[in-house]
Symmetry: D2
C-alpha cells in the first residue's frame, strides 16, 4: 500500500512491467458519462514508448480494454476496470539486474522494504505503472471538460539548460503536440530535440521541467486544512517516478519579493472577483480562486545510462553495472500526459468533494 489515489474519484493501479499486464480500477466515476476506449487511447498513445526517436524504444502498442463499468457506451456508476496487456517482455535483458542494484533506481529500496523484488524490467517501479494513471486521467479530463469546462494542459518548458518561452495563459494543446518533445516554443523544442538526440548517442540522459496549467477551475475547490488543492497536487506530482519537486504560482521565487510586492490585488473584472496578478497560482488558502492554476515539476535525468557505474550486488559486494539494451534519453515527452493525468485526477476528486458538502 498504497496503490490507490483519490477520495471520491478513487483509482487503484496494479501491474508490473513483466507479468500479465497493467491496469487500473476507477471507483466513484459518476454514472451516465459517455465512455469508450476511444476516450482513453489517445492519452495512452502520448505516453507510449516508441512514439518518437527521443524516447525509449520499447515496443508496446498499449491497447486499452475497458472490462467493466460501462453499458451501451455509458458509465453506470460501478467500478471501471481497464487493462493493457504486456507485450514486449524480455526478461533475459534484465538478467544482470537479478543480482545487482541499479544506481538511483528503486531496486535496493524495494528489497529493503519487501525482502523480494521482481527484477524484470523494474517490476512495479517501471514507468509502465503509469499506464493505469494515464487511462484514469483520461476519464477525469473528460469529466472536467464536459461537466465543468475545465481544461488541463501540460507541456515541457525546460530541458537541461534550454528554456522555452511560453505564455501559460494562452498556450494551446495543438502547440504542445506540434513536436515530439511536447514543448510549445518551436525554436526551443528544436534545440531540446537535438540535445536529447545527442544524449541518446552518448548513452546518457537529461531531465527538465514539465509545466501544467488548469483553466476555468471555479472558485471553491480544495479542502482545507490538509487536503489543500496545492497539497494534493504536490503529492500527485511527487508520486510520479523521477520527480524531485513541485512549485505553484510564484513558487521558490516568491521569496525574493516582499509581502507588498508579492500580494495579488483583488479587482472586479467583468463582474467577477479577480486578481490582477497571479502569484498565488490560482489557489489561496488551499482553495481555487478562479484564476489560472499553474505549477511546475522537475524531472531528474533518467537513471538508466549506457555507462559503467559503481554499485552493489544482492550479496552486498561492491561491483559495477552498465545499462544495456533499450535506452531512454529523456522521459519528459512521455511525462506530459502523466502530469496531466495526475492533475486531472486531483481536480475531479475535489470537484466531487465540493459537491458533497453543499446541501
Amino acid at each position: 500500500m498504497s496503490n490507490s489515489f483519490g477520495e471520491l474519484f478513487r483509482i487503484t493501479t496494479w501491474g508490473e512491467s513483466h507479468g500479465g499486464g497493467v491496469g487500473v480500477v476507477i471507483d466513484g466515476c459518476p454514472p451516465r458519462l459517455e465512455l469508450t476506449e476511444a476516450d482513453i487511447q489517445p492519452d495512452l498513445d502520448r505516453r507510449r514508448p516508441g512514439q518518437s526517436s527521443i524516447v525509449t524504444p520499447r515496443k508496446e502498442s498499449d491497447t486499452v480494454q475497458i472490462l467493466s463499468g460501462t453499458f451501451e457506451g455509458k458509465t453506470i456508476g460501478t467500478p471501471i476496470s481497464m487493462m493493457v496487456k504486456n507485450e514486449d517482455m524480455r526478461p533475459e535483458a534484465y538478467s544482470e539486474m537479478a543480482s545487482k542494484y541499479r544506481p538511483s533506481h528503486a531496486d535496493y529500496t524495494y528489497v529493503a522494504k519487501y525482502g523480494i523484488r521482481n527484477w524484470q524490467g523494474g517490476g512495479r517501479t517501471s514507468a509502465r505503472e503509469t499506464i493505469g494513471r494515464v487511462a484514469a486521467g483520461a476519464v477525469a479530463k473528460k469529466i472536467l471538460k464536459l461537466s465543468f469546462g475545465v481544461e488541463v494542459l501540460a507541456f515541457v518548458s525546460q530541458v537541461k539548460e534550454i528554456k522555452a518561452t511560453v505564455d501559460p495563459a494562452t498556450v494551446q494543446f495543438s502547440e504542445v503536440e506540434s513536436n515530439i518533445v511536447r514543448c510549445p516554443d518551436a525554436a526551443a523544442a528544436q534545440k531540446m530535440i537535438e540535445l536529447i538526440e545527442s544524449m541518446r548517442a552518448k548513452g546518457d540522459s537529461v531531465g527538465g521541467i514539465v509545466e501544467c496549467v488548469i483553466r476555468n477551475a471555479p472558485p471553491g475547490w480544495g479542502e482545507p486544512v490538509f487536503d489543500r488543492l496545492e497539497a494534493d497536487l504536490a503529492k500527485a506530482m511527487l508520486s510520479l517516478p523521477a520527480t524531485k519537486g513541485f512549485e505553484i504560482g510564484s513558487g521558490f521565487s516568491s521569496i525574493y519579493l516582499t509581502g507588498t510586492e508579492h500580494n495579488d490585488p483583488f479587482r472586479m473584472i467583468d463582474g467577477k472577483v479577480r486578481t490582477t496578478t497571479n502569484r498565488s497560482g490560482g489557489i489561496q488558502g488551499g482553495i481555487s480562486n478562479g484564476e489560472l492554476i499553474h505549477f511546475r515539476v522537475p524531472f531528474k535525468p533518467v537513471a538508466t545510462v549506457m555507462h559503467e557505474q559503481e554499485t552493489v550486488d544482492v550479496e552486498n559486494k561492491n561491483t559495477t553495472l552498465k545499462g544495456r539494451g533499450r535506452h531512454d534519453p529523456c522521459v519528459l515527452p512521455r511525462a506530459v500526459p502523466m502530469v496531466e493525468a495526475m492533475a486531472a485526477l486531483v481536480l475531479v476528486d475535489h470537484a466531487l468533494r465540493q459537491k458533497a458538502q453543499c446541501l
Copy 2:
C-alpha cells in the same frame, strides 16, 4: 474536510483563532509511551507568537492540556486529545475584515467555498490552526526518537536573498536554537534578523526557505506507488500556510546534470549499502534508502502588510485595505517547528505502515 492527516498515526485538528480554542486528536498513537504536557510544550513555545522581536506580537501563552489518552503518564492506545485555549482575542481589530477580502489571504476563497466565514483573525486559516499539528508532531518526534532513533531537524536556510551556509549532515538542534531566526549560520542569522527588523519597521514582510533533515531513517519506509515518502512529505509541506513549493535532494537543480552525473553510486560502507552521493535525498522509488532525508520548502512573505492595497469587498465592489494592529514581518522562525511537526507525522505514519506489512 479534510482536517485529518495520516493513515495509521492519524491526527485531526480543530479550532479557529477566535473561539473556544484550538486542538488536535491523535488516533493511533502506540500505547505505553511516556507522555505528559512537558513533552509537548517546548515545541509549542517555539511556535508561539511573541517569542521574539521578529515575529507576530500576538499574546498567547499557548499552554497545552492533554484531555485524554494517557493514564499515569503513559499513552494507553486511546485517542489523545490536546487543547490550547484562545486568550488574545480581539475581534474588534478585525472588524474591517468582515466586509473586505484581504489580498493573498483565503478570505475570498472561503466565502466562495463555504458561503460563510469567520472573519475574526482569519478563523480557521489563521496560523493558530498549526498548534494542533505542532502538538501532535511533538508526540511523533518522541516516538521516532525513542523507538527508531530518528531525528527530525528543520532550520531557516534563506531569508529573501540572504543565504546561510549549513552542512545538513552535521547541523545540530542547539545551533538552530541559538538565535531567534532559527538559522544555524550565525553570520547569516544576524543579517536575516536585521532584514526582518527593517521589514517590521517598514510594515512589510519577507519570506524564505526552511530546510529539513531527517537522520537515521532506516531503509524501507514509504509506500509506493502513491504514498511515496517524498509524495507524502510534499503534501505535508504544501498543507502548511504560506508554502509555495517543495524539493527533495537535488530538487529543481537536478535538471542541470546528465543521468551519469546525477546518479548516486552504491558502495558498501561499514557493512551497509550506502550511496556515495545523495542527490536522491534519502529516498529512491518512494522508499527511504538509509541516507539523510533532506528537503527544502519556500515560504512566501506574510500577506498582511501595513500598506494600503487594492481589494474587493463582500458586496463585490472595488476598495482598498490597509493592515492594522499586530504585524508579522516573517513567519520563518515559527515555521521551523511546523515543518518538523509535519515531517515527523509523515515519518511515524510510514514507520507504523511498514510494521503492518511484515508478518
Copy 3:
C-alpha cells in the same frame, strides 16, 4: 484506531470516563447550518446517567460546549469540536478493578491488546464514550430533518421476555418519551419498568431490543457493494457497547418464508414506485428504496452485577469479584439516543456521498 466513523460526515470521538472529559470532532458538516448547544443538549440529556430510577445513578450533568466550527450561530464548514467535562469521577470506587478483570467487560482484552489500561470506571470502554456519538448524532439528525425531511426514531421494543406492540409506521417521538423506559407501548412499558426495578433490587441486570425506524429516506442512498446502507447500519450498531446483533426488515425470520412469499411486490402508489410489503426493510441491493427503513438491535444485560463472580486477576490468578457502588440494571433507555445517533450518522454520510456522485 479507529476512533473515527463516516466517510464524508466524519466524526472522531475521544475521552475516557476518568480524565479531562469526553468529546467529538465532526469533520465534513455542511456550512450555514444553524447550530448551538441547544441543538445538542436534549439528546445528551436522554443519554445521561441519573435521568430516572431505572438507569445508572452516576451524577453527571453532561453539559456540552461547542468549541469550534460555528460563527454567529451557524456552522462554517470547519471542524466542529464539542466537549463534555467529566464531573463524577470516583477512582477509588474502582480500585479493585486495578487488579482484577471484570467478567464480560473489556478489561482483559484491552490489556491483551494494548498492554496497559485505564482501569478507572472502564476508561475508554465506559458508556461515557458514546457522549461524543450522541452529540454528533444530534447534528446529523438536524441536517437530515432540515435538508431532507428524514426522521430517525428509536424505541425499546423488548426487555427480557416483555415484548411491546408497536406500529413502526406510525410510532411518534412523544410516545417514546412518555415513559422512562422509552417504550411507546404504555402497558408493556409499565411491566418493563417493574422488571428493571426488581433487577435493581436484586443487584442484577437485563437486556432487550432497541428498534429503529427511519422515515422519508429518499430512494438512492447507499453505496454498493461494500458500503451498502444496511452494512453500514450494522457496523454502526455493533460498534455500540453491549450490542450482540442486528437485523433489518424480515431479518432472521426471513428464512421461514419461500422466495415467492418473501418478495416485496412493486406497485405504483400516488405516482411513486412503492412496495406493498416491506420485508426488505427499506433497502434493496444496499440502496434505500423509499420505504420505511426498519431494523432491530439486541443489547445484552449489563455486565456489572452486584454478585460475586469468578474471574482472574492481572497476575493471572483465579479470584472472585463483586460489583460495588453504582449499579446500572438496564442500558436500554439510554441506548435509544445512541441508536438514533449512529443511524443518523450513517444516513447523513450516505446523503452526502450520494450528492458527490451526481454531476
Copy 4:
C-alpha cells in the same frame, strides 16, 4: 463507491455479470507469501454455479488468473490483480428485465441511484460480484493459517425450518464438504437437500442460516471504538447479497438471560486466561479474547422465482413479471465460501492493524 473493503489488507472488486469479466485487486498483501492460482481456485469452485443439483445451473468455469503481484510463485508486496472471465452470458435471457424491475432485487434502486443500469443478468448486483471477494478471501485465509494458525470455517446450519445440530467447537472442514448443501449434520443435510430440490421443482426458493467459526484468533485483534471486530464482521456479512442480519455469541437470545446468568466467568486454564462459557462469542469490548469467534448470518430466500409477480416497469406502470431460464432455489451452499472469505478479510486486516500499533 465503495467497491473497496479493508484498511491495510484492502480489496477492490470490479465487474458485472455481463461484460469482460469480474476481478479483484488486493492492496497490502504482505510480501514473500507463496501464492499461485492453485491457492485460489478451490474456493472459487465452492462458490461456482452449477456445482451441484441444488444451486443455479449457470455454466461458468470461473477460472482465476493472477495478473500481477507475484514473482516466481511468491507475493512481492505489490497489488495482486486477479480476474475471472465471463463465459455464460445470455443477455437475451434478460431482455424482459430491460423494461421491468424484478421484485426484491436491486433493479429499481440502482436506477433510483445511478439513473442507469446494466440490466443483463443483474449487472453489478449479480452474485458474480462475489468472485473477487472469494478470490481475495482465499489469500486472506492462507495468511491467517500460515502466519497465525487461525482457521475460518463456515457451514449451513439451517434451511427454512430444518435445523442442524453442530458443535461449533469441533466441526471440521471435511464434514462441511461431505455433502452438497455444506451442512455438517448429515441427517439434517439430507432433509435440506430434499427441501431445496422440492423448491426447485416448484420454481420457488428458500433461505437459511450460515454459521461461521474462527479458531485460534489470538487475544488483541479489533480496533475500538468503531472498528470493533464484531462491527467489522457485521458490516462484512451485511455487505453480502441476500443477508438480513448478524448475531455473534449469544446474539438475539442474550436478552433472555440476566447479567449474572449471561456473564462469561474468567478462569486460568492451561496457563491461559480463558472464559468458561462463551456468550461473548470470542470478542469483548470489540477485541478478540482468545475464545472461539462464532457468529450467524441469515440469508433470505433467493428473489428470482418462476412465478408471476406484481411489479412496475421502467415507465412507472404496473405490470407483472415471471422469472425465466436458470433458477437458483437456494444460495446457501455457495454462500458458505462467501462468508468465510469476508470473515477472513476482516481478520487478516485486523491482524495487520494490530501489528501496526506495536512498537
